[in-house]
């Protein structure tokens, strides 16, 4: 390699490395701000802002969804399997909202600890499978034998 090429290569490598280090430092410094949501444990521990809106994310606890008849109001509990937060919301829930599924709620935490959401988004997981496979897995989990789906 000629000396000029070597020099250019080193310069280019330094530019990329410098940019990389600078970005890594910035991202580390802003770590908290890059988190899209807080977990229920962080909320219980008081790490989430008290006076302004923030997002909380977790799995909807089974059998916790209570709907108020003749309205869009709904109440449910979300968990990170350690702590739980109760969420109240009035509005249309996304398609993927269901018990056991991850959601992200945006809103305020009331003084009584209940989270009043103005927006509820469903968080999709990374698993894709046909319905038969899903029901086979569920059956295997609950210990029952699967009848062949017709």
């Amino acid at each position: 390699m000629t000396p000029t090429r070597k020099k250019r290569l080193i310069t280019a490598a330094l530019i990329v490395a410098g940019g990389g280090i600078a970005t890594a430092l910035i991202l580390t410094a802003f770590e908290k701000n890059l988190m899209y949501f807080y977990s229920p444990s962080e909320v219980i521990a008081g790490e989430a802002p008290a006076a302004r809106k923030f997002r909380v994310g977790g799995l909807v606890v089974n059998d916790s969804v209570k709907r108020v008849p003749d309205s869009l109001a709904v109440e449910f509990t979300i968990t990170d399997t350690v702590h739980e937060v109760t969420v109240v919301y009035e509005g249309i829930l996304p398609d993927l909202f269901r018990e056991g599924q991850g959601i992200v709620a945006h809103g305020l935490r009331r003084p009584d600890g209940i989270f009043e959401a103005s927006e509820v988004l469903a968080k999709h997981d990374e698993n894709y499978m046909p319905p038969e496979v899903a029901s086979a897995l569920a059956a295997a989990k609950s210990g029952t034998t699967l009848k062949h789906p017709q």
């Binding site: 090429r5 250019r8 290569l9 280019a12 530019i15 990329v16 940019g19 990389g20 970005t23 991202l27 770590e31 890059l34 988190m35 899209y36 949501f37 977990s39 994310g57 249309i92 829930l93 996304p94 398609d95 993927l96 909202f97 599924q101 992200v104 927006e119 509820v120 988004l121 469903a122 968080k123 999709h124 997981d125 990374e126 698993n127 894709y128 499978m129 046909p130 319905p131 038969e132 496979v133 899903a134 029901s135």
Partner: protein, 249 residues
């Protein structure tokens, strides 16, 4: 090591000839795989247990997103070849790749947004994955704008290559954003160390589509690079001879 042979294939004149012969075959292979992949994705793959039929958008969304990252790396790598080793062909390939990459990035963002509304409940959120992918689009647009703004092609190529190299820092951020931070976007399904968490019947069309997209990029970049070569080398003897030959036919 003997680089003379490599040099020969990388010279614009030789590239012009062999790409002319190769591009149609790549195009045909791409078209076949595209039809097979699309049929597999839209008809043969079963619906998802949670999302039903809506999940089929991954056959456009995921390959587009992969291509948006892949093409950027090609662009930066080709730009570096031009910047450091003064390989003219590198500059031309980088310049030819940028708009293709920008469109794939746009496609990934647009299809993700359309899917996000019914599934998440929103078209857009400022989480780390979506934001870093949007920055990727701006990097592409910045590169294209730079090429348009600087008239001297060598200067434009050098400036573009530096921009592309600095921007490579965003590539791992896009990829790992879903692991480093809490995001609304789900984690990786296929590109993780464990077995892919997608049923094989759904995975195969996805891989076929990805291959089709890659071949599409290869075909288009060969054709576009030929245009770049003709424009860049329009005053050379071989281009003039070639043009004269074409006119004579």
């Amino acid at each position: 090591m003997d680089f003379s042979r490599l040099h020969k294939y990388a010279s614009p004149m030789h590239f012009y000839s062999w790409s002319l012969a190769v591009a149609p075959w790549l195009g045909i292979a791409c078209a076949v795989l595209f039809v097979v992949g699309l049929a597999g994705g839209l008809f043969y793959a079963p619906p998802d247990y949670q999302q039903g039929e809506s999940f089929r958008i991954i056959y456009v969304h995921v390959p587009s997103a992969w291509m948006s990252l892949f093409i950027y790396m090609v662009m930066a790598g080709a730009g570096a070849l031009g910047l450091i080793w003064h390989v003219k062909l590198g500059d031309m390939i980088a310049r030819a790749s940028a708009p293709v990459g920008a469109w794939f990035t746009f496609l990934a963002l647009a299809t993700g947004s359309l899917w996000g509304k019914p599934m998440w409940g929103t078209y857009w959120v400022w989480d780390a994955r979506l934001t870093s992918e949007l920055i990727l689009l701006f990097l592409y647009l910045g590169y294209i704008a730079l090429q348009g703004a600087i008239e001297d092609r060598r200067t434009a190529a050098r400036a573009g290559a530096i921009l592309a190299l600095v921007g490579t820092v965003n590539i791992p951020i896009v990829h790992y954003s879903v692991e480093w931070w809490n995001t609304l976007h789900q984690g990786p399904t296929v590109t993780k160390f464990d077995a892919p968490s997608i049923d094989t019947s759904m995975l195969i069309p996805l891989l076929v589509m990805s291959l089709a997209y890659t071949l599409y990029f290869c075909t288009i970049v060969l054709v576009r690079t030929r245009c770049e070569i003709l424009e860049f080398e329009r005053n050379t003897t071989w281009v003039k001879q070639r043009a004269a030959g074409v006119n004579a036919v």
